[in-house]
Amino acid sequence: MPFAGFNMPINYKTGIINEHKNVRNHSGIFDVSHMGQILIENNESYLHKLEKYIPLQLKKLTKNRSHYSFLLNKDGGVIDDLIISNIDIKDKSYLYIVYNASRKKEDEEIFISCSPNAEKIYEKNCLFAIQGPDSINVLKNIIDIPNNMNFFDILISKYDNNEIIVSRSGYTGEDGFELSIPNESAENLINLLLKNENTMLCGLGSRDSLRLEAGLSLYGHELNEKITPIEAGLSWALDKERLEDKNLNGNKVLSDQLKNKLSNKKIGLISTSKSMLRDGMTLFDNNNNEIGKITSGCFSPNLNKSIAIGYIISEFNTDNPIFCEIRKKLELVKINNLPFVKKNYKKNGSIYE
């Protein structure tokens, strides 16, 4: 399937549902090399320029930790969501940023304007994720993982005499790791990991159903340039001090939104029939008034029902029934708190909790 200019498998041999369950119960490997990875020197002037777009105090980022954040436009809308980490490579301090494939052009324009010598390391490094409760045991046979490594910790390790970036993270709601590794060593490492009989290659299909069950947002669905992180229910990821800083894009919009009632709210939905909820479907109240739209929907292998994330108008009282238009018929759907499936992170003070 074409995806953001890449030819990507939706699933491998055994199918989306099987891959999904394997990640929840054991472990699965996702090739996410299509994503952007960039290194920006940890230099005060670069960081200051980046802070116009990124709502964090970049100078205060803890070493060897990752943070979920955004690039914001001047209205506070989300240009992209990303993971930003503070790491040292060969005694030099960097910000390592992983961002969406579909937003490379927009993001890199900003990164390069803030830091002309930013290094697009995806040109020479693959990125893949191993996800699921067995990930740690599968990976630690091959790469040194300290026992005290928590979710959203990140470090430099070695494989094949090359430095690789290892972060304890992912986008499935499970414990797991992401590895940025030179192209020439990647296949070898993946094959070693696949020797474990309970791990398998997984495609974009299960990646989507896993992140949806975990209630995680996806750019182009829950997030876009017209939605702010606050409207998307992600205000926890904003550094509140930065909202007072005029240097931050959209700071006024965002701080006003924090104080006032929003016009829309993000909700989780579960189908009451066997019909599938899908992106773009319209939601109605019991008087046939349109109250919102679904932004992502899929079949949930864990709940054996269709689940969805969407936005509805804030004034709608969620004690009242909601209907979704599925093939010209209105079907009752139930509100469900996000996430649908409990996250299973190894944690100790992660910003993600």
Partner: protein, 127 residues
């Protein structure tokens, strides 16, 4: 499957049809099943409905997408495979036998003759 079951024929919409005593049995092809991936739900047609060839009569939902199933020929829906209600994945396991979807009493057997043979369908897929 009965002894008088005809040769299986195929439509360009990836349905298969076989005929026995003017009763057509219809399902989706193994190729269709493979490209849809895990099938999670099927909205079966209503028994008693009279339909024309090319009418959308039911929907198969897979984890990837919803796909319409069309009537391959004119006729009346006389039976549906109720086993699929509880376990639509039967279509993934055995699309061209146990995974049959509905039966029709057909009114024009010429329409059946015009459908593709197994070999013609195979060529059609390779195009």
């Amino acid at each position: 499957m009965g002894a008088y079951m005809s040769e299986k024929k195929y439509t360009k919409d990836h349905e298969w049809v076989s005929i026995e005593n003017e009763i057509a049995t219809i399902g989706i092809s193994n190729h269709a099943q493979e490209s849809l991936g895990d099938i999670v739900f099927i909205e079966l047609p209503s028994v008693g409905n009279s339909v024309k060839a090319k009418d959308e009569i039911c929907v198969v939902e897979s984890v990837k997408a919803a796909s319409d199933i069309y009537a391959p020929i004119d006729g009346e829906i006389i039976e549906v495979n109720n086993n699929l209600e509880n376990d639509a994945a039967i279509i993934n396991q055995d699309a061209e036998n146990e995974g049959w979807i509905f039966k029709m009493k057909i009114s024009d057997s010429n329409q059946y003759s015009e459908l593709m043979s197994k070999d013609e369908y195979k060529q059609f897929l390779e195009q």
